[in-house]
Amino acid sequence: MLLTGGQILIEALKEQGVDTIFGYPGGTVLPIYDALYDSDITHILTRHEQAAAHAADGYARATGRPGVCLATSGPGATNLVTGLATAMMDSVPMVAFTGQVPTGLLGRDSFQEADITGITMPITKHNFLVRDINDLARTIKEAFHIATTGRPGPVLVDIPRDVSGGKTEYRDPGPVFKRGYQPRMEAKPELVLAAAKAIAAARRPVIYAGGGIVNSGASPELQRLAGLIMAPVATTLMGLGGFPGDHALSVGMLGMHGSKYANYAVYESDLLIAVGVRFDDRVTGKVESFAPDAKVIHIDIDPAEMGKNVRVDIPIAGDVKTVLGQILDVLEARPDPHWDEKVQAWKREYPLDFRKEGMKPQAIIREICDMTEGKSRITTEVGQNQMWTAQYYTFTQPRSFITSGGLGTMGYGFPAAIGVQIGCPDELVFDIAGDGSIQMNIQELATAVNYELPVNVAILNNSFLGMVRQWQELFYERRYSHTELKNPEFVKVAEAYGAEGIKITQNAEIRPALEQAIASSKPVFLDFVIDREENVMPMVPPGEAINKMLG
């Protein structure tokens, strides 16, 4: 049967099990939208292409299934750029489809032409420009294969209008084989034995766990390993939820705004078991002082991460879940209770805490955590809101914390929350936001109202770009250069879009407001007017050793 390129795209999506996409129409994607008109794929119309990318990303992180977004050529495609870079940095499986000018007009600076495969080369795992309709079905299959296997990441497929609008016989392209792309899953046995031996010999082991735990579904294996060797588990921002935050061996997050006890444990460890992590500078601080006495085992799906930022003694490339399973099979544990006692003593001595007077953002986040029993899906924006959430919400489930870690994209949280709510329609979803970040994609109120999504947005409103202000306070003599914000009335903005808005100025109002928001079937903006100059503490100053913390 002859199908148009647009129809082939729909068929290929169905074959991949995709039932929902996020997009925004335009001239060069008209043949695709025309095919969508008759299909049973749910299309969520965001109000900005960037939001479509973030929503697809949030959907993917929450469900584990690839997120799909669609935009037109030129500005539509370039508006996806931030979303793709966000997904790339955090290894999120996503496939983005963009329209392109007809092949005959390529390279002539045509109307709404942008070289999107060139532009997105460094911020996608791979990308394709489909010049021939007969390559379309195979290319889409390859795109999903690449996005979802190995180290996940975003893949972009650029489709000229004459390809999506042309017709050809649709055939199943058969199995995907790319000779240059064969991710290694299992670790070499000799490395597994070396790791097991190092673990058995360690007196002060620490597990440093990241997003790779969540991506590979390795939380059960991680819990077994930690319990077996009585090692404290410090997670990265991306790893939160990958190990239960309420577990006795959890020391929460490490790094710049990590807990003191996590950083102390890492600093004093004699064996660092780094699992699904990439030794980001926000984690390590000054690299020479990061676990200076420790032997380092690094397990990650991406061989290029081994030795990229720090020296590694036992590099193990492979799927984190598979490799942890291999190690557990041969591990003879000899846990030393003294180490755990020391870690527990640090926990008691240096707890995460804040002064309770005034309207404190930390208290609001604790309240959200208590009321939802740590079981809601949380997205954040970027900055103080994000760090307080990481510190004060106890995440117990993988895929429950959804945040832009690597790229640090302000404006991510709200559209991501929309994607999460679409992917998890029966769950409670909160975006914990700042007054600055929320205004970077505030137009998505229209999307949330349009699709009747009961997303709750808790704006921690200090009328500042809080994290930048904090750095200005600490490192630039309180010279608050362009970080003070004159904001709109968020309640009125929400109401204008047809959502609910609640302003909260006193502690006594926090709980009733949250109850009202949770009970509401509409999107709700909660405008929490918080202490203006509250800081995120503790803090490792940039470039300092991780055991030298402020606050």
Partner: protein, 167 residues
Amino acid sequence: MGNTLTVLVENNPGVLARVAGMFSRRGYNIDSLSVSTTDDPRISRMTIIVQGDEAVLQQVTRQLRKLVDVIKVQDITRDPHVDRELSLIKVTADTTVRGEIMQIVEIFRARIVDVSQDSLIIEVTGDEGKVNAIEEALKPFGIREMVRTGTIALLRGSVTAAEYEED
């Protein structure tokens, strides 16, 4: 002294940009890069000369392997291999000095491929050192312009790049 990488890639549009872009954005220095198709039209072969210590080389190799269009990467610096550059050199040469230049050409086993009233074009192949040496020897006569290819290299013996074991 640079390290010699042999890279087999899918002959797809944009593959050179992917490789070159990776080098530039990660801050690795390419001394020379040459690329052409192989006996298999679906595969292109790059020879890349790159500066750096062992850690840098390891990263370069792994980042290259991470590219979907890259099929095989081998660092053949320490393996016995043959490497060659080709250079064309246009030298000022009136009749009074031609004899002298032809002697140099002979010593380097180069060839004269064009002659005009007052100039010669000399073609030379060899490793980097040889091409540098003839350039130096010809300088006193006046080099009007020259062009030089990047290095290309093959392993000695019967082993091919496609068969080479990756670590």
